[in-house]
Symmetry: D3
Subunit: 147 residues, 6 copies
């Protein structure tokens, strides 16, 4: 669904929570195929048994892709991605873990380009135990209504 949500309509009080999604072996295999990253951390069960984490883990780029994808519910026609800051992977994600994402507004400020503001969303991905596995700042460039 398409919406128009202008800079002035964002507020640092907002929090939203996404649907959940289980990370499957299939997701990892398809991600290896898309990224070209066939590192043994993701693809070699035997090698993983010799490592501290013992099991295959999801690629960082997969966790990021799924987490940001979960937040993409409404098409805001007056907003676009400016970039991402401070992307960190805080705990490994294993096959069978279920992630959901919480998005809150961390900061709002004017942009140098007149008529635009920057909205920084704090994106936090949690596993089924409530453990924080990934965090980043998603910076949006948003039209002002009174432009």
């Amino acid at each position: 669904m398409f919406i128009k949500k202008y800079f002035e309509q964002f507020s640092t009080d907002e929090v939203r929570e996404t649907k959940g999604r289980t990370i499957t072996e299939t997701d990892i295999v398809i991600h290896a195929g898309q990224s070209g990253d066939f590192f043994p951390h993701h693809m070699d069960e035997e090698w993983c048994k010799t490592q501290p984490f013992k099991k295959r883990i999801a690629h960082g780029t997969l966790i990021f892709t799924v987490a940001i994808g979960l937040t993409a519910e409404l098409v805001n026609e007056v907003s676009m991605t400016y970039g991402y800051d401070r992307l960190r992977f805080l705990a490994p994600v294993f096959i069978g873990d279920t992630l959901h994402v919480e998005v809150s507004i961390k900061e709002m400020k004017d942009h140098k380009k007149p008529g635009f503001g920057l909205v920084t969303e704090l994106v936090q991905a949690f596993n089924q135990s409530g453990q924080l596995v990934m965090v980043c700042d998603h910076i949006l460039l948003v039209h002002k209504k009174e432009a």
Copy 2:
């Protein structure tokens, strides 16, 4: 191939360039399927004709996935990803564009955990015209040899 490249063996003089890869319609469709992001910017050719960029564009998370994947050539057993900073998408990537990545060492510093250092790689993805389309800092946590 597996290597062991310790913190002391990195140098801010290093630059490496990856193979190239053409971004196809297939990559975008598979990425929509993996991320769950079916926004019209990526999936609706008719809607895109009404937008400033006129054509379907690659997801930001796809560009990031392919760019980081291109850099994943050697398995360094004494290094792991700490995180990414200042990820920015500087120009749209269209179907048929060919990307390659240049990696240089931007910064090296000690980590609070004894025996480890942080190496910051500058990751720059260029299209076939030499235009910079994505940039980020990739921060690696690397073992010191003399730990």
Copy 3:
């Protein structure tokens, strides 16, 4: 997003329109791979040139899958699919066609199971020229609020 929309809250006045989606060669190849249907109508460009429609066409099950998928925007926790009736493919869908779907409420009636009603949605998929390519009745079994 999760909602609870009970039988009493549906109305035969409702109409909704989905986002659009371009049917790509990739969709057809992946659908062949999922269905196991590699008939030349979908997979053999040379054979298609000898047929009345001249070009590869999308599988009926692909058109149905995409059309129903486009309507799956909100998770209604008090509704489930009962079945589909009168599914017809009225015009071929070619690679590059862009589909969108219109959903209207065609009929509402009690179900024999107390506390439930049947809502029949008319699902119509159109291509970029406004031509109706697929139609079906989607029958939902919906909880009544006053059950």
Copy 4:
């Protein structure tokens, strides 16, 4: 293989049984990616534990796609799909269930277009316990030999 089986060559005595196919987690993940339907019924193992069916279930459109795909063995050059009626999902299909399909001829009648007849196949999909999980009428438009 290509065959020519005309309207007069069908008979209501015919029954055929297809190969079997196990529905995997991979099938569900790929189907979510093709349909864009990431509803928690299919993708969120934790949420499913709170529901009556306890486990992730296959999409209706996936069951239909696989069942119809299993029947697509011979290319009949004088027949085409007219549509489907009374498609019903009678029992949930879980990861690891194995489906096979039985096809019988339910009805044969003239079509208003001279030289064509309508053949209605009854399509029944069963799981490994012999339980009927899906049923529909597949209506074929078939050339008459004596046209």
Copy 5:
């Protein structure tokens, strides 16, 4: 469909021809993802322009996979693959080429294991111009009826 075709029922007079299949960009991208082979011959349109063949070409393992897959129409319950000999790629396969396969019986001989024979099929894949692009011997280990 399942058949039982014993060693004695094969004959060096037999020839069969498969359906055709167009090799798409999607096939190449999926094959790179399955094989892990992202060589520029298949994935980098710009690099290919500098090479004698000018365009991206299909992986040898993809051509082999599709050609052998095209021959897999009937499940012969009394036959299994013993191996392949003299696999050669005689002309490049480009995106958009349409392949079909001809299978003839080249040789039949006893196997050292009593009750079994070896049947060697000559597998030839041609493109839409009738050019031979791949050839191999497919050796089958087949039960004898009079075992």
Copy 6:
């Protein structure tokens, strides 16, 4: 990474070992979708229970694709595949098996085309128990330096 390794630089003393890779259910399902081979040996868990090997097995073309893909690490600009000989599948590969490949130089000889030589690599794929599951000769056509 690109290298130039001429005929004279190969030696029959060379041996190299690849990374490992676990064969997953996903690999088999994607391979069925790519090859069009949905034989019950790979896709029907119930049927497999009635067979000597009891479980679903990987397609021969999948084992070959993965094994050859694992060897594709460096792009040698002065070498190309001439063909494959004596491809044999010596033990079944099941879901969850982890393969790695050893490559040694078996033979080197002149080619009739002046300036070229033929290098035959012996490719051996082993599972996690060290059992040889696949073997073949990979014949390379390599430029001579002193051409």
